[in-house]
């Protein structure tokens, strides 16, 4: 898409680690400050999408391939629901995290972290999947347009 713009390329490379670390900070600091799985998932997906917009979608898919993304979408939901089932198996109500830790507070804390990770995985991969879907269509359209112009030149 915009592979030739050197300013964009350099700035993107500088920003990418910052965005990803901020996403992880939002993810794991969600217990103490604002944020959580939803926001962190979107931020992490935004980093990959930025990379894809500047360096082209194939480069982004080299980082996280389409099939991995498609596995991650249900994986997040399964982690969330599975946490609930684990609570059931340990003799508590569905989605009660108390039995995970030595005492109920630690269990709740751990449960929240696991569940937020599930949210993160699903949100980030869904955003990426939609971007890959639309971006793939756009690339095909570009390719078709290029073919068309070549044909008309002939």
């Amino acid at each position: 898409m915009m592979r030739d713009t050197i300013i964009l390329r350099v700035v993107t490379k500088l920003l990418l680690p910052v965005i990803l670390i901020f996403a992880l900070y939002v993810q794991f600091h969600g217990d103490y400050g604002p944020g959580g799985g939803f926001q962190a998932g979107v931020a992490a997906a935004a980093a990959i999408i930025l990379y894809g917009m500047v360096f082209g979608i194939p480069a982004a898919q080299h980082v996280i391939s389409k099939s991995v993304v498609q596995i991650m979408i249900p994986l997040g939901v399964l982690i969330f629901a599975g946490t609930g089932v684990a609570g059931l198996l340990l003799g508590e109500n569905y989605l009660n995290y108390s039995p995970f830790g030595s005492h109920s507070e630690a269990g709740q804390h751990l449960g929240i972290l696991i569940v937020e990770a599930g949210v993160f995985i699903t949100v980030a991969s869904t955003m990426l999947a939609i971007f890959y879907g639309f971006g793939g269509l756009a690339d095909e359209a570009d390719a078709a347009a290029a073919e068309k112009s070549e044909e008309s030149e002939e």
Binding site: D31, Q39, G135, L137, E140
Partner: protein, 180 residues
Amino acid sequence: MVITVVGIIRAHNLFAVVMLGGVYSFLMATVMVILDAVDVSMTEAAVGAGMSTVLLLAVLHLTQTREAPLRHTPAIPLIVCLLTGGALVYGTLDLPPFGEANAPQNQHVAPYYIENAEHETGSPNIVTAVLASYRGYDTLGEVTVIFTAGIGVLILLASGLRPRRRKNVDSEQDPKDNAA
């Protein structure tokens, strides 16, 4: 925000409309910060201003960037919007004043959360505690909604759009080939 909305209505270039939509979302996020709802503000800035703008731009790449001419008068949508907006404003008249401590929504479970969330869940951010623990079932539902939406979009993009778009390209090509 009013200026942005008027701009969105007046603009015919869809790029400008998408960008103004992003501006509107950022303004909405600042409103949420003023209301001390930092979590909501963060979501609005990330999803509303960031993600939907990017996705709309990706869609614009596939379509035209100019608004299609209207095929009917805007009177009926205008009436529907005015009626709905009027009903919503009428509904807010009965709401208790903002921040009223004795209002029903601040008397029900909120005091329990404020008093017990930190030592029951070990999470000083009550929003996270409510979201992930007390109301975990609701959040599971939300994640399922995102999951379903993602799968739906993937299926639509994989099966529905592609053949139709190919046909469009073919039909666009034919007259030019004939002309050549």
